[in-house]
């Protein structure tokens, strides 16, 4: 019964989204107030209906209702509660339902907090959200209905893929989707603005919080996925430049560019069509990501079984959505002229270079990801483009970007003197060169590039701190006044400081863990010990352990450095009872300078075990840096100027921007 209610609610939501997608936008065109007024109630109703549908599916999973096909395929009565819930989106059909739920949540959020939006703009934005929902709900109902029944109902299910039975991956899809789908809001705003032919700083101030929300979620989703790959796959790596990973990274790069160009638009009323273009591109890349993950057209190390028919449907949605947006863009963009000019050397210039590099990087990843597909379609053979390509392109593009990231906040709007900025960064510059040489000296001389990478990250970190110091005029005025200034910094600037220094710390982690990883593979018997990276790893015992729905071979390692305190580490190899699928559970011990990482493998005929031991330098820095970046987006969001309904508080804004020091990078 409940399942039927869920199914029916979804069909109702589809029709609701059609009303939401048509009447308000037509009403906005003919200036019919009553039609435009439909936007908000329909958006909220649609959200409610999809929520009912989603809850119904969740209850079916919780109660192990095996008359539902996806419950049979992805659940089991023995499965722990958390994974019964995450099983809802641990499969194609359920994850698409989550997709439209989140789309409706964003629509509902705009409807709820968008009271201060111009009614016509609000009607158009919500209509476009409604049309997106309509397309994706059609997709669900026609190709991937989560409410499909199976008859006769089996007694038990086939269990969720054991790799997905993990806390990291339970939350990875919702966060990632909140990011992907969050970019639908900026897309809707962009398309609505194109229809109106009007883009102004007020529009930008509206778009920025949504871009920030999407960016924050996307960042956490990507990092959580990367963390999962790091500890669950047992390869000791955290990023493989795999198509599925690239699919989430491309929209992230575009969203990062969007976030920054919207600043220029808000502050300087220029880069209008570029910002609109980025908003379209960012969402296009999100849908493309969904296509890549869901269609299985590209071989991926993270591939799941998939159905090509669905891929075609998503591709059609992509072409229609983005094609229409681009036609509109080509037609209306010439209307969007910026009112302010700027010199190449200025903060606008710096942000534009950052945008250029991010976009080129995104395009190069797109090329590398899709090229094998083109070659295949043209029947020129099967190829793959591996990590070396992406590293060879990405690193040289990002290095100048990070160098400029340090400098740009010191430049003034419109026209800047580069020498003034440089002179304020003298100490940061000298220190980071010292770091570069120092690391090069300590480490192997062969890794000069990696040492340079550490130097670059030190530069960004120190430059970001110098910018904060400069902003509060530390040592220039009495210390107490500086502290007062520090406390009065707008949240937006704190956001920048946190995000930029977070990136600096993460870059150090990425560089070090790629360049100086120590790896050792060997056979070990109980009692054997081995030295890796100055630590002694002793295999004390191997036990068989029983989990709730799996059996595990657990190695007990005692790890010590120079006879200091022993740490016990317990890597596992699990066999899940239902699917008989094995998984690896690496044991990880984070230290300040890196992770100790142990994987236990198969048992040999002579009773020994293959073990793989890594020392992964500075990996914890990477996670810490990423947390700072997400924190930065949260802090920025609490900036009073974005308090939703910002346009009404323009007076406040004008006051705060009148102080040039305070306005920096907010």
């Amino acid at each position: 019964m409940l399942v039927e209610i869920g199914h029916f609610a979804l069909v109702l939501a589809l029709s609701m989204s059609f009303v939401q997608g048509t009447l308000p936008i037509i009403g906005a065109h003919y200036n019919k107030q009553s039609w435009m007024a439909l936007a908000r109630p329909t958006a909220l109703l649609q959200l409610m209906l999809i929520l009912i549908s989603f809850v119904a599916l969740t209850i079916a999973f919780l109660g192990s209702d095996f008359s539902l096909k996806i419950v049979v395929n992805n659940s089991h009565t023995l499965k722990p509660l958390l994974y019964k819930i995450s099983g809802v989106w641990g499969n194609h059909e359920g994850s698409m339902l989550l997709w439209v739920l989140i789309l409706a949540i964003y629509g509902g959020a705009i409807a709820t907090w968008g009271k201060n939006l111009r009614p016509a703009l609000r009607a158009r934005v919500l209509s476009i959200q409604g049309l997106l929902g309509f397309g994706f709900m059609l997709f669900i109902l026609f190709t991937s209905n989560p409410f499909d029944r199976i008859s006769p109902a089996p007694i038990n299910g086939q269990d969720l893929n054991p790799l997905l039975q993990d806390p990291g991956l339970a939350f990875h899809p919702p966060l990632l989707y909140l990011g992907y789908v969050g970019l639908s809001t900026t897309f809707s705003f962009a398309v609505a603005a194109l229809i109106e032919g009007k883009v102004d700083p007020v529009w930008a101030r509206w778009v920025r919080p949504w871009a920030l929300v999407a960016w924050g979620f996307l960042t956490s989703g990507i990092v959580l996925g990367s963390w999962w790959a790091y500890y669950e796959l047992g390869w000791g790596g955290w990023w493989f430049w795999d198509p599925v990973e690239n699919a989430s990274f491309m929209p992230w790069l575009a969203a990062t560019a969007l976030l920054h160009s919207a600043i220029v638009l808000e502050k300087r009323d220029t880069l209008k069509s570029w910002t609109v273009f980025l908003a379209i591109i960012a969402f296009a890349l999100s849908i493309l990501g969904t296509f890549i993950v869901r269609s299985g057209v590209i071989t991926s190390v993270h591939a799941f079984a998939s159905d090509p028919g669905r891929g075609v449907f998503i591709l059609a949605l992509l072409v229609i959505t983005i094609g229409t947006a681009f036609v509109l863009f080509g037609w209306r963009a010439p209307l969007l002229k910026g009112s302010n000019l700027f010199q190449p050397i200025s903060r606008e210039g710096g942000l534009l270079i950052n945008n250029f590099l991010l976009t080129v990087a995104s395009a190069s990843i797109l090329l590398g990801t899709l090229y094998p597909l083109f070659i295949d379609v043209l029947e020129l053979g099967k190829i793959s483009v591996g990590a070396p390509y992406f590293n060879a392109v990405f690193v040289p593009l990002m290095t100048p970007m990070i160098l400029i990231m340090g400098l740009a906040p010191f430049m003034t709007w419109k026209r800047a003197d580069i020498l003034v900025g440089m002179s304020k960064l003298k100490i940061a510059g000298i220190l980071s060169i010292l770091v570069f040489i120092g690391v090069w000296f300590i480490k192997d001389k062969a890794t000069v590039l990696a040492s340079f990478g550490i130097g670059v990250s030190a530069w960004l970190f120190l430059a970001t701190l110098s910018e904060l110091k400069n902003r509060i005029n530390l040592f220039g005025i009495p210390f107490k006044e500086s502290i007062n200034k520090l406390l009065r910094q707008p949240r937006g600037s704190w956001g920048m400081t946190l995000a930029h220094s977070g990136l600096a710390i993460a870059v150090a982690g990425m560089t070090a863990s790629s360049a100086w990883k120590v790896e050792s593979i060997q056979n070990m018997n109980t009692g054997n010990s081995i030295n890796v990276a100055g630590y002694e790893f002793k295999l004390e015992d191997v036990r068989q352990v029983r989990g709730p729905n799996y059996l595990a071979t657990r190695g007990i390692f005692a790890v010590s450095k120079h006879n200091s305190n022993k740490i016990i580490m317990k890597p596992e190899k699990r066999i899940y009872a239902v699917s008989q699928q094995p998984t690896t559970e690496a044991a990880i011990e984070p230290t300040l300078l890196g992770d100790l990482y142990i994987v236990i493998g198969d048992k040999n005929k002579d009773g020994s075990y293959i073990t793989r031991i890594y020392f992964n330098p500075l990996v914890p820095w990477m996670w810490f840096g990423a947390i700072l970046m997400v924190l930065g987006s949260i802090v920025s969001l609490t900036d009073r100027r974005y308090r939703i309904g910002a346009p009404s508080s323009r007076k406040m804004l004008r006051q705060s921007t009148s102080d040039p020091v305070e306005s920096i990078n907010t």
Binding site: N161, L163, L233, G234, W235, G296, V297, T299, V301, H302, A303, F304, A305, P344, F356, V360, S364, L367, G368, Y371, G381, K382, I383, S384, V385, G386, P388, Y389, A392, V393, P396, L397, I521, Q522, N523, S579, Q581, P582, T583, T584, V599, G601, D602, N604, K605, D606, S608, I610, R612
Partner: protein, 149 residues
Amino acid sequence: MKPKNKRLSLIVATMTALAASVALILVAFEDNVVFFYSPSDLLKKRPGPTQKLRIGGLVKKDSIKREPGVTEVSFEVTDLNNSVPVVFNGILPDLFREEQGVVAEGRYREQLFYATQILAKHDEQYMPPEVAESLKKSGKWKGPVELEK
């Protein structure tokens, strides 16, 4: 500088940057495109010993061998017409099994494929498209359902 010259120099700078990026991408591409071979292709075309490539097929039944005391594992990848011996040093992906699809990346030297990476699957139902292709080419494709067994 006159505004006109300034604009010109800006355009030149942008174009140079763009050209540099394109050059960077092309050079990286040239070096890093990895071709895929089925075992039959590999025996026919015989790529050079330094060329990085991928092979794919099924892990041949009873071909997985581990010598005591070494971590190296050897097995054969087959498209059911021809097979290629592979050696790999490391821990195999969890879903690596006999008679299952596999994709290996590495180099082919003296009749032996030295794998540097074995691609993992996350899902038992999944068959890499290349492997399906290999089997179709050798005429042994029976559809995904039967291959699971």
